[in-house]
Symmetry: D2
Subunit: 427 residues, 4 copies
Amino acid sequence: MITKRESMTMLDEKTAVQQLRARYQRVRKVSENICSPLNTEDYQIQSIVETSPPKWHIAHVSWFFETFLLKPHATDYRPLHPQYEVLFNSYYETIGKFHPRAKRGLLARPSVDEIYAYRRAVDAGMEAFFNVLEQSPDAQHQSFIELGLNHEQQHQELLCMDIKYNFSVNPLKPAYRNDLAISPTNHTCAIQWHEQVAGLYDIGHSGGSFSYDNEAPRHPHYVPDFRLANRLTTNGEYLAFMEDKGYQRPELWLADGWHCINQHNWQQPLYWERDGANWLQMTLGGLRPLHLHEPVCHISYYEAEAYARWAGKRLPTEAEIEVVLAGQPMTGNFFDTDSLHPQPANANGQWYGDLWAWTTTAYHPYPKFRPLVGSAGEYNGKFMCNQMVLRGGCCATSLEHMRPSYRNFFYPHDRWQFSGIRLADDC
Amino acid sequence: MITKRESMTMLDEKTAVQQLRARYQRVRKVSENICSPLNTEDYQIQSIVETSPPKWHIAHVSWFFETFLLKPHATDYRPLHPQYEVLFNSYYETIGKFHPRAKRGLLARPSVDEIYAYRRAVDAGMEAFFNVLEQSPDAQHQSFIELGLNHEQQHQELLCMDIKYNFSVNPLKPAYRNDLAISPTNHTCAIQWHEQVAGLYDIGHSGGSFSYDNEAPRHPHYVPDFRLANRLTTNGEYLAFMEDKGYQRPELWLADGWHCINQHNWQQPLYWERDGANWLQMTLGGLRPLHLHEPVCHISYYEAEAYARWAGKRLPTEAEIEVVLAGQPMTGNFFDTDSLHPQPANANGQWYGDLWAWTTTAYHPYPKFRPLVGSAGEYNGKFMCNQMVLRGGCCATSLEHMRPSYRNFFYPHDRWQFSGIRLADDC
Amino acid sequence: MITKRESMTMLDEKTAVQQLRARYQRVRKVSENICSPLNTEDYQIQSIVETSPPKWHIAHVSWFFETFLLKPHATDYRPLHPQYEVLFNSYYETIGKFHPRAKRGLLARPSVDEIYAYRRAVDAGMEAFFNVLEQSPDAQHQSFIELGLNHEQQHQELLCMDIKYNFSVNPLKPAYRNDLAISPTNHTCAIQWHEQVAGLYDIGHSGGSFSYDNEAPRHPHYVPDFRLANRLTTNGEYLAFMEDKGYQRPELWLADGWHCINQHNWQQPLYWERDGANWLQMTLGGLRPLHLHEPVCHISYYEAEAYARWAGKRLPTEAEIEVVLAGQPMTGNFFDTDSLHPQPANANGQWYGDLWAWTTTAYHPYPKFRPLVGSAGEYNGKFMCNQMVLRGGCCATSLEHMRPSYRNFFYPHDRWQFSGIRLADDC
Amino acid sequence: MITKRESMTMLDEKTAVQQLRARYQRVRKVSENICSPLNTEDYQIQSIVETSPPKWHIAHVSWFFETFLLKPHATDYRPLHPQYEVLFNSYYETIGKFHPRAKRGLLARPSVDEIYAYRRAVDAGMEAFFNVLEQSPDAQHQSFIELGLNHEQQHQELLCMDIKYNFSVNPLKPAYRNDLAISPTNHTCAIQWHEQVAGLYDIGHSGGSFSYDNEAPRHPHYVPDFRLANRLTTNGEYLAFMEDKGYQRPELWLADGWHCINQHNWQQPLYWERDGANWLQMTLGGLRPLHLHEPVCHISYYEAEAYARWAGKRLPTEAEIEVVLAGQPMTGNFFDTDSLHPQPANANGQWYGDLWAWTTTAYHPYPKFRPLVGSAGEYNGKFMCNQMVLRGGCCATSLEHMRPSYRNFFYPHDRWQFSGIRLADDC
């Protein structure tokens, strides 16, 4: 006999599965929406090794559900093609071989149509899987579906980044979309400094809802007195650094940074180009005049760090940002705003969204970190070396994907992500 | 008053223009036919720096007519897009900048459709140009059209080569066409040696019809007694070299060749792959079992040279091949056969077509060579260093594109062209 | 009139200068002693870009005194050669240009003799400088001399490292010295785990004596409960990892580490080589059979980290090591022991010396870190990116150069330093 | 019984051996004389992969006698060290392994002293070998000794080239020798054109005295009417090319040449450097002001070819030079002059010596070329690809090493050899 309480729980569990199914449908749709302005040719290209062809993203996020849910747990699922397991595996060594990352752009076949057929097949498999799950909820399966959806949201941000890069290398400078809103404001506010008192703070995710394994466990961390800028550094401020010969003065740079900018001949942020006396900036809406009050974006850690030194300030640690973010409402210019470009800060400051802020913290495991069990353990842990943490989300991040404890990470020389500068200072 | 003779001449000239216009239409159609089995994605990719995306070829051959005829000489022609001049210039420095060769595959835009629209616009321009030309024939313009058509035929061969390479790097090993004829014969003939007596031979094109500038001027060249194989070396013969540890014995190789095969870890011809105890070979018709009596193809000069040494023979000079070819009927397995793959020789020998035969002659100017005047002078002359001459045409060469004096050329390490081995020997 | 107290102070100050002079003479002599077994040819070579020719070290450490003391502060000092400022500048951008690091080995001139003449000239300048200093002690000058001596001691360790590498690449496998003591013991002790309770610990140098700028300021840092191995991991233990296919199992490795070992084809620690069924190890005393109870040395961070994962443990943080070291007597197998090779631990454990222990802490500035003023500020600060901290000193470190707060740092892929593994674990 | 004729022959043969022994001693001494101005450090370095450390040359030329004569044929010879066979083998695959060319400069050991001891041991072995040979002359052994002496003379030229390069990369710009004669003349003569009528000429060495295998067999070759400059192109003439933007105009260059000069940023010949408005040139006598009437030297094939095109002329073929040289007395500025630098031509022209003249002929085998039997067959034959022939000898070539049929060869991008420009023209 089923008690009322049990019956209630079952109802709740079924509702949870139904909500998850709705979320699945919603998130999956977003990926396709992002790609809808693309030509078949746009789907195909990989302009640098760090980026992937859009069609590969579309396939890989499906592969994730197929690999972690359908193949091991769905009884009736039949894979569409035996080689897709290899072609669309990104980097999971424990699952098997994978097509070399640098050669994803050479996969003319499967075609875009075939990849959407694969996507449809996975979606059909997942719908059947949800039918079973509604009858027999399974916490672990649901948690993997949640992971898969967060994974897909990360790739939605990657799609925006990669599409932007792909379009930028084309001398025709095509616009990905012509209907993107352009910032209406022509000013920004002066930086306000948020002051925080020193203390032993708990850092990391406290559980109870989804987070990646790398945000746990929550643990005490001593943070000294510090001040944090309430908005990101602007193009205009960065231009002052450039005009003060910032890129020519080695004393402003980390040794590896100085080597990097000289090796690649970087004299300005990615996507800036000279137009006589003016600067233009490539955006997802095409080439635009540089907007001095928008946050400076697509800079490397080296550039952020040199700018901060020039400005007489420093970059924050990840703990400092988390402590402050935890006390702020989570609003901002996210993917949901549909600008796909950072906007000038208003009087309320700019705490979340717009651009990922570089921190001086290397991406390493938290004390007593345990990766997920099985192949999903490769999701985050094995990248915990040589990269720096960025915090706060950006204009290509979905709002529902964000948390104060969220740790993004890139190599110090990476620039194609939506990265910016938030200054900090000692008190 | 126009005399009868003048009138006759004018008629002849008009007929010549009309024939040229018909040839233009025929040749242009062939390029599109070659591409008809391609997906949009197939048009886009550039799998190595040596190859170009098929859509780039389709645009570039049109650019050639636009640049050398329409822009300078067609009064009403309006270019479709100002940047196409740069995007589709291959290497003509005197015309202006060009998009970097290695980045042709990153041009998602213009799309395939836009490129065909460009092609249509050039064709329309050329039709109007022919209309004028029929009224006022112009030897120089017609000669440039002839050059443009030969240029396009070269790119037709390049399209076959590049498509083959692009398809081969895909782990799915797709077939470009499933309807290609496969060689019916399962044997070949023993090599017959054509003997030629020493003497001072005239080499090069004698004028009177089209040739490239690099085939002229015809000039005397002393050739010693020699013998030339009447057919190409077969896969079976090459396999014997491999099984005799040909790829492991440095004494068989030129120093640069030994370095090359070790650097790239070459242990077999391009497109061969092991299938247990057997060999498979990637073709334009997909993966096929290796056919022992077909000529060995897609080998570098180094491999051809090492094989010849192992076989106790040598490779021929370009003069030796030309002297013999000049006495043979120009038939063979050309593009027109529509096999797009070399075939076993029959009892009549194999003098033209199937595969370009490597020669030991470096590609240098003939005595008193004069390149074409103007930018067309860059067509051939500036490549006369570091490359080796190949002779005889191949299964991807149009029969009407061939001549005994035709000089093809590639770097010694190149393998993606349809190249093979024709042995020679001293008498 | 000078009071007694002033007089006493002056005496003390003069004594301090005299002691510093004696230390100067002693430290400078050590560098020359290290080089005394070298041929002129040994002084010349630079086997990889990370190493420097011994003669360059000998010149550079003199350059340091010349540049930071004699040129700015010694009134009578005349530089020996105008170009030495550039040739022997290591990386001080604010001082001026420097000879490219990768080309130090191409400086056949100045000869070894000329470099020793330069060294003599700097020493003479410094003796004169000490004469003045004895009369007019100057805290800042003395502190720079102290910095110069610590700098030279670092280069003494680099000399040992670089000489070892240089000798190892020679197929003759020459011994740098034949008189080095070989470990007499053929066993080691089982690991004992030092347990430390969680708490907010002060980390960093507390002032009052010499330290580098990167060890300051002392600051609170929360450390969780942890356990630390009382000795380094041995060759025998590491061999078990290798025999368990440690180098073939990607799941044990950081992604960058897996890429690194495959790119360089690393299958064992640097300096190990197979001799049939046995392993040999190149040492400063030449090739020796691998000693299973000696600590495993010359491994990268990646290898240390993979070993720890395989062992079910982890590497310590730099704070964890400092907390423990601060409570241990500073004895161990240092340069002063003259073994120049790590030795098996005895029952008292192995806390200092033998090998630098890799930590999981990226080399970043401490909170409120301020680099030295002027060009000396380039000494440490600009390297605070992409490197990992190592702690504890090694058999090539002078005892008097060591402190619990000492932070050494190398890139994760570096192996030519005397680096090893000290395991840690959570409690 | 020995007849008088036989006795005479035996006497002649013995005399021939004695003369060869005297030549051996003389040639061997020259190598040591070339090195006598070197420091031990100068002996050690390898500044680019193409050059070798002087001490390696000294060892390798001894290795040649040891390997081809003493080890196989001298009954009492005992090799000094078992690993020298590998260390000093240059590229003879059929003899066995060899130390990587790029790492010759890392062989601090054996020391210079040890290498001279090796040299002494080989000399002693050869003296004993000559004793036997005087008693029992052996044509084949004597011919190998002759080959070894010519080999050593080639390395004497290489020593001059490599020493020059090594000294040039040192910012101190040391002079190898301060006593080299500097050209006294401050003018040169206008070019006189030697005219040659077309015809079938015999090319190659006719036997009867020493030549390398690559000069044989003598064979007929048709040469058209041509004109050949009686002197080399001067620095002043080359400067006019540079001032006419020669290095900035792609239409003057071969495609590979244009790529090469831009990749390496070549804007002038090797060893030229700006000194304000003037040019300096590094020589074996140190930095000197550029002498406008001296021949331009240390240029690549690409630069020679571009210059000739700019000048409205062309470079000669190797046959053209040989035909003309064969009719000229073999005098000129050779190694024997002891200037080690090209000199201005005088009224008699400049046919031999000074600088090797680039030809447009690729270095390929002559018809019916047969390499030497055994490992000596690797001496020349395996390099017959990708290189260009140079003719005529240079100021670092010994006069007695020269012949009209002598074929030198380098890659088109090589510049460290004493190479120059001799113009040719069609008639």
